[in-house]
Amino acid sequence: MQDEPTPIELTKSVADFLRNDITPLVSGHQAFKLRVAINILDLVTRQLTLEEEGDEKEVERLRALLGSDGSLTDLNRALAERIARGEFDLATPGLAEHLWQTTMDKLAVDQPNYASYKRELGRGG
């Protein structure tokens, strides 16, 4: 077991330093690059916070849908192949719900400000 602070806390401290102390000091293209850098650290923080629980639930849903077991990547590959072969489609019970939930979980990490995501979040699933 590693000591603390956790990776989430460490990453967040760097992001906050860049945001609060460095942003006022740079301009132009460097300011643009700095914003991108801060966005990356914020994304990493969100992923470290949300990934474990999201992945666990995704694996559970995939097992139920596919009736088989494997790593998250293997299960996604298997689902992709079944859709490609036409064995699964939007009429397959649980498929649309699974794809929606998985996609919402990705957006929560990747782009929580994306307008489509905010609209769908407002629907409450």
Partner: protein
Amino acid sequence: MIEAELSRSVARWCPGATGATGAAKLSGGASQETWRFDIVHPEGPIGAILRRAPKGYGAAPTRAAGLDAEAQLMQLAYEAGVPSPRVMHVLVPEDDLGTGFIMQRVEGETIARKILRDDEFAAARPILARQIGGVLAGPHKLLPSKLPELRRVTATTEIGEFERDYHSLNWPKPVFELALRWLRNNDPGPSAEETLVHGDFRNGNLIIGAEGLRAVLDWELAHLGDPMEDLGWVCVNSWRFGEIDKPVGGFGSREVMFAGYEAAGRKVDAARVKFWEVMGTLRWGIMCGGMMQRFREGPDHSMERAMIGRRASETEIDLLRLLAPRGR
């Protein structure tokens, strides 16, 4: 130092010109660059843009029409009254600038978020959806016999290319598979008419002024195909920049764009437009994957490129909104 070559070049083909100043690179990948500069002229400076492939980078990527074709298309569009920069000069070997062309610089804004938010464009925004419809009719009306040699694209060939690109990413994405399947099942077949298709007509590639659309840029993906492709692409959610209830670039409704297109003497096939919107959403998603691959494999190890890889999920939610919408 590019100013020395530009100065020698403009002196040869621009009567009265005595030099070139203020050269600044606006964008540049490994194979293509865009520069702005001013031609020094006794009657006052002339704003110009250089698009070129530097020496040693002649080969165009497979999807691109090539700089010569691009110059020819822009000139044809300009002559047909499409708002488009006038091509002033096509580079020749004596210019020592590589291959490409020099065009008139049109002042205005291209950054979509500014166009959609800033007060300066408040009067332009409500008229742009209709204007975009009218302007899009322009390239579709150009006579095929006058066009340079271009790639031919049908829905079927395009789906095949997407499948190949997607599989080469080795990136299992059930939502992309669902979209590919939908596209195969809903392929409308070859278009009854084959026209010039701009190929990248969207908010971000248009120069906008306070009064509306001033110029259409980025003709490099032009090809022959279904004109409805352009109408679908301009509606892809990624180009609405947050204004998700205004499909046409964040400016207005499809119906208003269709009215502008039909007022310019052309017919709309709304089902085909919808098909190409789905296609375009997937296209941008796969392009995001390509950016991730280029980041990972080294040619462009920038943070921006890395982050675009993480935007593929935006296209996944948009594909689900199109194909599996939840209760309204």
